[in-house]
């Protein structure tokens, strides 16, 4: 309860501001329409009209919630208007990309920690790689993947992986280097090799770092999947774009909130796994 109350308060404040902004931003259209029709609107009429438009500049919260509700509960989940249907398509790409990206990130991190040349050369370029506007690459990547015969989900997953590997590399390099000199020396007095050190010391002690980066990584993965869907027929990304294409602001906002909710759930999910893992490893107190 005392964790929920502050959140609810903030949400309530945002909703109030939001309604205000909706009136403010949608108002000009109401006035223009009235002017074109040669009538005047005022008072409650005006406010009411700002919140019931089909194509508002800013949909009022209840419109978005209705959009979400229609998309989630108002449709069969196999329907193409169902947000669950599209969410699932996005999720599958997100998860596949996340697995690839995380695997790649961990491998790279292990390489960086064990190989000085990789350490020096990979990092600056990994940073530079993240500066590339992925949305510009996505269509070209789709073409290349297409010509290689890969399916849509793989293309999406590659973009996801591309965005999620970076936080994993950064976090894991930190994590794998987190054992202090004494912990490393201890294994040396046992005359343990690098592989043993990795398995018995570096990997376990990197777990908190790993989970922290997994949380960032899964959110990045989702963004990647959505960007990858801009040129695919289905998924939340496609929904966002078609909403934008037809000026369906409510559809955009509903898809937007569906995506953010999914991200939040994924992060919470990883948090759960983290708690369980760390507890089983005895690292959660």
């Amino acid at each position: 309860m005392n964790r929920l109350l502050p959140i609810l308060t903030v949400v309530a404040a945002i909703v109030v501001l939001w309604y205000g902004a909706a009136v403010w931003l949608n108002g000009p259209w109401v006035q223009d329409q009235a002017a074109r029709a040669g009538v005047t609107v005022s008072g409650m009429d005006f406010v009411g009209q700002t919140m019931t438009q089909d194509r508002p500049v800013l949909p009022a919260p209840h419109q978005v919630i209705k959009g979400l509700y229609d998309g989630v509960a108002g449709q069969a989940i196999t329907s193409k208007k169902s947000l669950i249907y599209h969410g699932w398509i996005t999720l599958s790409g997100t998860l596949l990309g996340f697995v690839i990206g995380t695997g790649l990130g961990i491998l790279l991190a292990v390489g960086i920690v064990h190989n000085k040349a990789m350490d020096l050369s990979v990092m600056p370029w990994a940073i530079a790689s993240q500066m590339i506007p992925i949305i510009a690459i996505a269509p070209m990547l789709a073409v290349v993947m297409n010509s290689l015969g890969a399916s849509g989900i793989v293309t999406k997953a590659i973009i996801s992986a591309y965005l999620s590997f970076f936080p994993v590399v950064v976090g894991m390099v930190k994590g794998l280097r987190s054992p202090d000199a004494m912990q490393l020396d201890l294994l040396r007095t046992y005359s343990a090799g690098e592989a043993t050190t990795l398995g018995k010391l570096r990997l376990p002690s990197s777990m908190p770092y790993l989970f922290a980066s997994l949380k960032v990584g899964i959110a990045a993965s989702l963004v990647g999947a959505i960007v990858g869907e801009l040129n695919q027929p289905a998924g939340l990304g496609a929904r966002l774009l078609s909403g934008s294409y037809y000026g369906q602001t409510v559809q955009i906002w509903a898809a937007l909130f569906a995506a953010a909710t999914m991200a939040a759930l994924l992060v919470v999910g990883i948090g759960r796994i983290e708690t369980v893992t760390l507890r089983r490893m005895g690292m959660a107190r």
Binding site: W29, D32, Q33, R36, D54, R55, V57, S79, K80, K81, S82, Y85, H86, I135, A138, P139, M140, A142, V143, V144, N146, S147, L230, N231, P233, A234, A238, R239, L241, S242, G243, S244, Y245, Y246, G247, Q248, Q251
Partner: protein, 307 residues
């Protein structure tokens, strides 16, 4: 059956009804074809898809096809189901635009990505500069919808007769409050929605045969769609994976599309081609093609398909 992959220029909508109808009505199957239709979108360049081998045949507009040809991608028009152009500028009357002469010092929304050339050409014939200098027009790269007009961020935006125009209407603006300039009527129209393949493939008799059957079935689809617009619209809806299209909108779109395909039996009219090339060569400041292309179209397929 022979596999054919068709890449569309835009998302699934009645603009491409002929192909969806042909598939749904079994016209392709009857020709022994197994056709995969790939929807496009703002993020898809059909020319690039075909260059990468992702499609056998693409729907594209002639300006971008010719530009690609000059860049070294030998695309050939094998059929032209669209006789006329649906592009226009739609302006709010209250912005004070009544004739093209009023464009000066106004902000105009334009689609880029290969669609800007007819517009630039038009402006240069009007003698209006597009670089933002005084007395010219301010050009916006418009997004995917008509919001700039509704929000009065632009005096005019690009629309298609069959689509965006109706979005403006749907938004609640009466037709009397709008002024439209059809490219067709302004004499700056270029050919839209044609079928293009790679030149090298045409030499292969098997491919040629496939395309003959494809074009024949596609045209059958188009004519069926013209005759049965409501059924065609429903077929389009059934094929839309985003679930964003509505049947009302697609019916109306189908009706408008039928006007554009009406004059065509599928074969490219050489005069239309020549007009398009002339427009593009005249260009604006930065012409899209620098020399008249050769071999950019053929009747090889339609001759066989339509006999």
């Amino acid at each position: 059956a022979d596999d054919v992959t068709l890449q569309l220029k835009w998302v699934t909508q009645a603009q491409f009804a002929g192909y969806y109808v042909a598939a749904a009505k079994g016209f392709y199957e009857a020709e022994g074809l197994n056709v995969t239709i790939l929807p496009g979108g703002p993020d898809v360049a059909p020319t690039q898809v075909i260059a990468g081998g992702g499609a056998d045949v693409v729907v594209d507009w002639m300006p971008s096809a010719l530009a690609a040809r000059e860049k070294g991608l030998p695309l050939v028009n094998i059929a032209q189901p669209f006789k006329s152009s649906g592009m226009m500028l739609t302006c709010l009357k209250e912005s004070g635009v009544a004739t093209p002469a009023d464009f000066a010092d106004k902000t105009l929304g334009v689609w880029f990505g290969g669609n800007e050339y007819p517009f630039l050409n038009w402006m240069s014939t009007l003698g209006l500069k597009t670089d933002g200098s005084a007395g010219g027009v301010t050009v916006l790269k418009q997004g995917f919808n008509v919001d700039p007009l509704l929000q009065k961020q632009a005096a005019c935006v690009s629309t298609m007769t069959y689509n965006e125009y109706w979005q403006v209407i749907d938004a609640g603006i009466a037709p009397e409050d709008l002024v439209t300039f059809k490219y067709e009527e302004q004499g700056v129209a270029t050919l839209e929605d044609g079928l293009y393949v790679l030149e090298a493939n045409l030499a292969d008799p098997a491919f040629e045969d496939k395309m003959v059957r494809f074009v024949r079935a596609s045209m059958q689809g188009w004519k069926y769609a013209e005759a049965n617009p409501d059924e065609a619209a429903q077929i389009v809806i059934d094929n839309d994976a985003t679930g964003a299209q509505t049947i009302e909108h697609q019916k109306r779109m189908m009706a408008e599309i039928a006007k554009l395909t009406a004059g065509s039996n599928g074969a490219l009219d050489e005069a239309d081609y020549q007009r398009t090339v002339d427009k593009l060569l005249a260009g604006g400041s930065d012409p899209v093609i620098s020399a008249a292309p050769t071999g950019a179209w053929t009747h090889q397929i339609t001759d066989k398909a339509l006999q």
